[in-house]
Every structure is written in C-alpha cells, then in structure tokens.
C-alpha cells in the first residue's frame, strides 16, 4: 500500500502563511501556493500533504467530521466551536487575547442583566455563567465595538491584539478571559488510523517552529 496522505485544514490568511513557512523550513514545499492564490486545495510537491484553505470558524468542523485529519486554527475558534477533537500542539503564533471590553466606567456587577455583544456567544456565555452574572448575548459577525457605542450592549467579548481599535472607540479591556494562539487539532479517527503520519507531521511542525525562533 502506498503511503497514506494527510489532509490539513488551514484557516485562511495569517495562520495559513505562517504554517507554510514553518513547513518550508522542514523542506515540505508547496510550490502551488502563492499569497494571492484562489486555489482552495493545494498539494505539497511530494503529494503527501493536501492543504485545504477554509474560513477559520469552519476548521474545527472539517476536522471533527474527518474531512481533514489535521486542522490549524486559533484557540478562540476552538473554544467557541466546542468540537470533539484532539488539540496536539500550540504553535505560539497569531497570539491575541479574548477579553471583556466596555467603557472605562462600566460596572458589570451592579447590573441585574449584562448585555454582551460578541462574535463568540459560547465563550461569552461560559465565562459569564462561571462568574455567576446573568447575561443576554447578542451575536454579531463584525464591528463588535460598535455595539456599546450605540447602546445596543453594555459590553463586548472579542479578541484583542494591540488594542488600537478599542482605544479609537473609547473602550478599554475590563477583564481578560483567556489568551489565544494558533493550535494544531486532529480528528480522533484519523489519529487512530494514521498515527505514524500524524505524529510525523506534528514533529515537523515542532521542529520547524523551533528552527523559526
């Protein structure tokens, strides 16, 4: 039997570029890939790895269903999607924080019900439940910072890298929920049936990561 191929679901954008640079350090070349490519499926030159470039929020779904054995995506997305997958490696790139943000004078604990606008309803709900605060989640898909400005919500739950967007809109970080970075996730069946191939890829990523430092 020929060597088993591995399908890797990559979050489009920064994570995809970073992952490819790590793999290239380990001499796994993706000549087909260019930063402006519109191709969604890319094979490496040895035809052992198949990359599929997908929207970040879809990466855990591709991996859980087994369409891809491996996925690389931010921890924020993994926490939000709550899929039953292995989380094998922290690539320590694409770092950001998941935070509660609002106006500087916001006193959440004095409100009987906190209105929270967010792209991450599960993370927000879990966090507020754990804190014992009643909350009303408003799911948005972008421009989250707008919600408190127009009084649609009291606070937001969102990711923050530099904090520039928050500052420009007069908002501050009220509480940190967790920090996020790019993680390698794996399908459980793929791990069982292609153990050696998956482990080899994880080792490549580890070594490539160290070489990049």
């Amino acid at each position: 039997m020929s060597e088993k191929t591995i399908t890797i679901a990559l979050a489009k954008g920064r994570i995809a570029k970073h992952t490819l640079s790590i793999l290239e350090k380990m001499s796994i070349q993706f000549s087909e890939f260019t930063s402006d490519t519109r191709k969604l499926v890319i094979w490496d030159d040895s035809k052992k790895y198949r990359l599929i470039l997908v929207k970040a929020v879809d990466v855990p779904t591709y991996v859980e269903t087994g369409a891809a054995e491996i996925g690389i995506v931010g921890k924020d997305v993994i926490m939000e999607e709550k899929k039953d997958v292995y989380e094998l490696l922290d690539l320590e790139s694409s770092r950001c924080d998941v935070v509660v943000a609002g106006f500087p004078d916001e006193k959440m604990d004095e409100r009987p019900l906190v209105k929270v606008a967010t792209k991450y309803p599960n993370i927000a709900k879990d966090y507020f439940d754990k804190k014992g605060r009643a909350c009303d989640i408003i799911k948005l898909n972008g421009s989250i910072e707008l919600a408190p400005l127009i009084h649609m919500s009291h606070v937001i739950v969102d990711i923050v890298e530099t904090g520039t967007t928050l500052r420009e809109n007069g908002l501050v970080v009220l509480e940190g929920i967790t920090s996020s970075s790019a993680r390698v996730i794996a399908n459980k069946a793929g791990y069982a049936t292609k153990t050696e191939e998956v482990r080899q890829l994880i080792n490549y990523l580890k070594e490539g990561m160290e070489a990049a430092e």
Binding site: E64, T65, G66, A67, D84, V85, Y86, E87, L88, L89, D90, A186, N187, K188, A189, G190, Y191, A192, T193, T195
Partner: protein
C-alpha cells in the same frame, strides 16, 4: 421516495453481523419501545435526560422512547437473576439490533439511529474481554472493513491515579477534558499549581503519550510503575493483549490511556473502533461491572454497540445491494408457457424474479423471444437453447455460492 438500495444494504449487513454474533454463542434479545423514565433515573449513565423523548401513560407515569439498549437489558437481566434459583442455568450472551431515540439541540441531527451490539454477563477475565474485541474485529472483517483500529483503555485509570489526592470534581473534570483532547501543553499548565505529589503530576501530564502498542505503553509507564493502580492496570492490559494475539487481532489494537470515561457506567476495560474514511468511532464498548448493582444485583458484564449509520456508509456497496431484482424475464407469445415455468422454478429457489415488461434493474435480464433465450448481465451475454439448460446454470451458480 423509499431508498430500497440503502435498506437492502443495511439488511444485508445486519444479517452478516447477526450470523457472526451467533457464531460466538450470542442469542437475539429484544427490548420494548417504551421504558419507564424512573429506570433511567435510578442509575448513573452518560445520557442527558433532556435528550430523551418522553410521554406519559394512562396513570401519569413518565415513559421514554428507548434511548439506549444496554440499560434495559441489564435491568431485565438483574430482575431475572433475582427470581432465578441458583442451580438453574441462565443465558448470559445477548445481541440486539434496535433503533434508539434521542433528540438534540441540533435541528439536523437524526432522532432515530440504529444500533447493533452485544451484552455479555460474565466476570472480568483477560480472555473474556479479549474475545469481545475479537468478535467485533471478526465482524468488521466480515464486512470487508479489514483496515480498522481498536483503541483500548481503562475507564478508571485517571481516577485511580489521582484518588489519594484531594482534588475537586471540577479539577478532575478539567484534567479529564485535557487528557481526552491530548492537550499536553495545557494539561501541564493546569496540573502545575495543584496539591498533588510530583510523581502523580508527572504521570498525569504524560498520559496523552501513553498511546500505541502494549510494549510502547509499558516502556513509557515503566518509570512510574511504583504506583499500584498503574501496575495493576498495566498487568491486566498485558494479559488482554496476550489473549488478543491468540485470537489473531493484536495487529489492529492500540492502547490509549487517554481513553477515559468517568461519567459513564464503564468500570474497567473500554474500547472503541475506527474504520478508514469515517471521522468518528463506529463502535464503542466496555465493561460495566457495577451497573447491575444499582438494580439490586451484582453481576459483572461487558458489551459493545455499533453505530449503524456510519458503519453502513463505510461498507462498500455490494452488487446485490444495487439490484432490487435477481431475474427479469421478458417473452413473446410463443414463449409464454416456458417463461412462467422458468419464473416459478426460479422463485422456488428464492431468486427474486419478475415476469413481463420490466427489463432493467435486475442482475439477470432474460429475454425469451423468437424461440431463443438470451441472458444479459452487466458484464456478459449468453444464449441458451432451452429453459432446462438455463435453469441448470442458475442451480449450479447457487450451489457455488
């Protein structure tokens, strides 16, 4: 439309599996569609009561539409055991093929799924446990799913390991979650500040690496073998592995100490099976020695269940699944008598046969016109002089199968 191809395929698979289960001494059991909600309230199990489909009977008692098969069988077995005199022999090996009903928040999840499995009410022994895995593997071979992998673990390993320390349920839940996700980085971070001794911490944080053949796992565990729980579990699994070799299924098995299940009724050995091309396990099983105790009788047991939907989709479609019919006979006026005689003879031998205008969708397309008999299949065409010669070829074929 009714998808008969899919149903025939499922049917064929169920028959193949039933034959295999019976060859290991299992007999078919049937549980009723409605169970009392109270029975599910009596015992620990991993099912969310909200997922069960409930209704009330005439007396206002709450019923559920069969959410699983293991609990009702274990309950009936316990009840029977209570009534039984000790000297009387009792059947102890059962198999079932039944729909189970659970609803979820996901609108697209099916409520009804077909499960096929076994329950064996016999005490824990390495050969007995290995034989159960051998049966599951044998069944997968029968279905031409030779490339499969069993992951074998031990349900209480983490609990046993961490029992001496005063950890909260929340802490144990989090440790279990991280082990199940094989998330070593976060597991290490989480264990670091906990008040447990350095060695237990070391073992716990390395559990995700205890994955592979029994030799690999043993080698990795060797450094920690001073712990009694670790030693006992490893010894037991080594003996299971020896038995698996005797049953000829050791090649398909990996050991995974990260396969743990504290919420469930599983008590010792647990296992699941993966086949290529399916993203989730097609089979889950394990030993549940303490379950029947909650029904008032102590009787150890082991069982497994195949999730039939992913299993059926993984099995390659066979020729007989695609054809709804075996033989379709078309004829002209002169061949009328011979055609009917042929049809009746074939039906006597249980070939699925139709007479008349239908000429497609059958494995054998028989045309009796102009004094000639043509038989066409997907791959070849044959001509026969008379009905007897054709019938003989069918009988020979049947004999060959």
């Amino acid at each position: 439309m009714v998808n008969t191809t899919q149903e025939e395929k499922t049917n064929r698979i169920v028959q193949t599996m039933a034959k295999r289960f019976e060859s290991y001494g299992y007999r078919k059991a049937q549980t009723q569609a409605f169970e009392t909600y109270a029975m599910y309230g009596e015992v620990d199990h991993p099912m969310d009561p909200r997922d069960m489909i409930k209704l009330t009977n005439y007396d206002g008692e709450l019923l559920v539409l069969r959410p699983d098969v293991t609990l009702p069988i274990a309950y009936r077995y316990a009840e029977q055991l209570k009534r039984q005199k000790e000297t009387e022999p009792m059947e102890r090996k059962f198999y079932y093929v039944q729909e189970v009903f659970r609803q979820t928040f996901q609108p697209n999840d099916p409520i009804e799924t077909l499960q096929m499995g076994i329950e064996c009410f016999e005490p824990s022994r390495p050969e007995a446990d290995a034989e159960i895995i051998a049966l599951a593997s044998h069944t997968l071979h029968d279905l031409n799913l030779s490339h499969h992998t069993f992951e074998v673990g031990f349900a209480t390993f983490v609990d046993d390991l961490l029992a001496p320390y005063d950890l909260s349920t929340n802490e144990l839940d989090e440790i279990e979650r991280l082990i199940r996700a094989k998330n070593m980085a976060e597991l290490q971070q989480f264990l670091q500040p906990l008040a447990i001794d350095a060695q237990a911490k070391e073992i716990a944080s390395n559990i995700p690496t205890f994955y592979g053949t029994i030799e690999v796992v043993e080698e990795r565990l060797e450094t920690y073998a001073t712990n009694e729980a670790v030693k006992e579990t490893l010894d037991y699994l080594k003996r299971v592995d020896e038995s698996l070799t005797l049953f000829g299924v050791d090649q398909q098995v990996v050991y995974d100490f990260g396969l743990i299940n504290r919420m469930d009724y599983y008590s010792h050995l647990i296992f699941q099976a993966y086949v290529e091309g399916v993203g989730k396990p097609v089979l889950m099983g394990g030993r549940y020695d303490d379950l029947s105790q909650q029904f008032g009788v102590a009787t150890p047991a082991i069982g497994f269940a195949f999730d039939m939907d992913p299993l059926v989709s993984a099995v390659p479609t066979a020729k007989e699944d695609e054809y709804a019919l075996d033989v379709a006979i078309t004829y002209d006026e002169a061949a009328r008598e011979a055609a009917i005689e042929l049809a009746m003879n074939l039906r006597e031998r249980f070939y699925r046969t139709v007479l008349g205008d239908r000429s497609d969708g059958a494995l054998y397309d028989v045309s009796m016109t102009d004094g000639q008999i043509h038989v066409r299949t997907a791959t070849r065409e044959e001509t026969y002089d008379n009905v007897d010669a054709l019938l003989r070829s069918f009988i020979e074929r049947q004999g060959a199968n």
